[in-house]
């Protein structure tokens, strides 16, 4: 009896909280809302250290924070959320830490694909960006399975950057552009004509900026409006360097597991203050190109 009453009380509270949240988002949406938010989830290990728990628990707390933040973002109508989960540089850490992170990732990917998860609730499409061949076999397979099974979802997009660095992404785009160029030249030879752009005076324009952008992992995704790096660090750490020309870079002080609803609302308010300037820059740059 007691627990039943407790359950319905907490359900009611949860319902009221959700309603209040939606009202707040409604008021927020009077101003411009971001379409794409990127997060650098920094501070899990420091969180674990400050709470004197094992490092793995810091990452678990980080994952909990991630699911809440995703929920809030999608409730607000943010269509694209990207997170920096694991950098190529992080492979240089202690092997047992890397292994436990990989295990955690696989476990969480499997959880996300279950029926009752947030992915199915919002019909989320999941992307994994990065050099996936660097991942261990089970994680890579789980990631590919997640991408395949959500590929046809029409809801918001959740992109996870794993085994990723921006310079690696750009280098990969250069490789792909070369392959595409080679393919076009071969077709040209087969059709009996030479590709003009390979001649000496056009050597700078063999590959254009548009060609490169077509081969980035983010080609079907708009540029981030906001990039939030928690724990107050000011670096981008090789994350989306190409795509953040007009992104508002924010670095709130809380550690990632502490990043909560009010921090997200504050981030949106900060973005809304600066939106007119960024939008003006974006449109004038588009006009020039």
């Amino acid at each position: 009896m007691e627990t039943q009453r407790e359950n319905s009380a907490s359900n009611l509270l949860g319902g009221v909280w959700c309603f209040l949240r939606k009202c707040l988002f409604f008021v927020l949406s009077f101003g411009p809302m971001p379409n794409h938010i990127a997060f650098i989830m920094d501070g899990n290990r420091r969180y674990a250290k400050s709470r004197r728990v094992k490092q793995g628990n810091g990452h678990r707390a980080g994952f909990t924070a991630l699911t809440s933040v995703l929920q809030y973002c999608y409730e607000m109508g943010v269509k694209y959320v990207t997170v920096y989960a694991f950098s190529i540089e992080n492979f240089k850490r202690q092997p047992d830490e890397v292994q436990s992170l990989m295990d955690l990732m696989k476990q969480k990917i499997d959880e996300l694909l279950k029926e009752e998860s947030i992915v199915n609730k919002y019909r989320i499409r999941i992307n994994f960006w990065g050099n996936l061949s660097l991942l261990s076999e089970p994680v890579r397979l789980a990631a590919e399975k997640a991408m395949a099974s959500t590929a046809r979802n029409t809801g918001p997009v959740f992109s996870v950057c794993v085994a990723y660095t921006s310079t690696n992404e750009i280098m990969h785009a250069v490789e792909e552009s070369c392959v595409e160029k080679r393919g076009r030249i071969r077709k040209g030879y087969n059709n009996g004509y030479k590709d003009e752009s390979v001649q000496a005076d056009n050597k700078d324009s063999v590959i254009s900026v548009t060609d490169l952008e077509r081969h980035l992992y983010t080609s079907d995704c708009p540029d981030p409006d906001i990039v939030i790096r928690t724990s107050g660090e000011t670096r981008l750490s090789n994350f989306l360097l190409w795509q953040t020309t007009f992104s508002h870079l924010q670095n709130p002080v809380p550690l990632w597991p502490e990043f909560s609803f009010r921090h997200l609302v504050w981030a949106i308010l900060e973005y809304q203050r600066i939106y007119p300037y960024l939008e003006q820059r974006r449109t004038s740059s588009k006009e020039k190109n």
Partner: protein, 268 residues
């Protein structure tokens, strides 16, 4: 969760109808302004505290800011909002502050290339002897400080040129067009290609952004992988104390990482 969805389902549609009504839209706008009020108050408070701190730093009241350790700061970059970059006096003043602090290498960037036109001609016409022009990059030696001038075309455009360079190299080894090998490049290849096409500058350790927003505005992506990015406010209201504080904070942070290899302190 079901209960909340029910409540939302019942109440949100009328709220959406609200949007079409002028009076109720006005009310919504009022609440939105109310929501922004705490943010504005915090910004104002933080601005006042910073102005006080900068004044104390400039007048030498705070001892610890007097001797800056510059050994970790080899390359400094400055991003300026193009409209503000037209104010050449402020730019020159900033450069002279940096020179007096002892910074050896400064990269100035603005999206539209305003700085390239104004600063370069200015520095050329003054008594400084050597001016070196690279493709889209001008290097001017001012006293003991090297100033590099960049614009948007030195970012994505430069990478495209480097990519073209690598692609041509790859295709030249593939003369008949039927070579089976896939192109395999490394990041070092791209770095070397950037140097080869005249866009190989050093990676800045610290980037100061002068403008309304903390935004790198297209600074060459290849070079800001691990650069600390600090927002300084508008160029019009720039303060010497702010520059000193930014450099001091940078040197303090990197002192803690002195004995660690560079990427180990990347937390997640």
């Amino acid at each position: 969760m079901d209960l909340s969805d029910e409540i939302a389902r019942v109440l949100i549609p009328p709220l959406q109808r609200v949007q079409s009504s002028k009076i109720l839209r006005f009310t919504l706008g009022f609440f939105w302004c109310l929501l922004h009020l705490p943010v504005s108050i915090v910004h104002l408070g933080s601005y006042l505290i910073k102005q006080l701190l900068y004044y104390m730093i400039s007048s030498g009241l705070l001892q610890k800011y007097q001797n800056l350790q510059l050994d970790k700061l080899r390359y400094l970059a400055i991003v300026v909002e193009s409209e503000e970059a037209k104010n050449t006096t402020k730019i020159k003043q900033l450069l002279s502050w940096l020179s007096s602090i002892g910074v050896k290498y400064v990269t100035l960037y603005d999206m539209e290339g305003v700085l390239k036109k104004s600063v370069e001609t200015d520095l050329k016409s003054s008594e400084n002897p050597s001016v070196a022009d690279g493709n889209a990059v001008a290097s001017v030696h001012q006293e003991r400080m090297t100033v590099e001038l960049l614009s948007f075309s030195d970012g994505k455009g430069a990478v495209a040129k480097a990519a073209s360079f690598l692609c041509l190299q790859y295709l030249e080894g593939d003369s008949v067009g039927y070579n089976k090998m896939e192109p395999v490049f490394t990041e070092t290849d791209v770095t070397n290609a950037l140097k080869a096409v005249g866009h190989g500058g050093p990676d800045p350790d610290l980037l100061l952004v002068y403008g309304p927003a903390r935004c790198h505005l297209g600074f060459p992506a290849w070079r800001i992988r691990y650069t600390e990015i600090v927002h300084m406010g508008s160029l019009r209201s720039m303060k010497y104390g702010a520059v000193v504080k930014a450099i001091y904070d940078f040197s303090k942070k990197h002192q803690n990482y002195e004995n660690m290899p560079q990427f180990v302190y990347e937390h997640f």
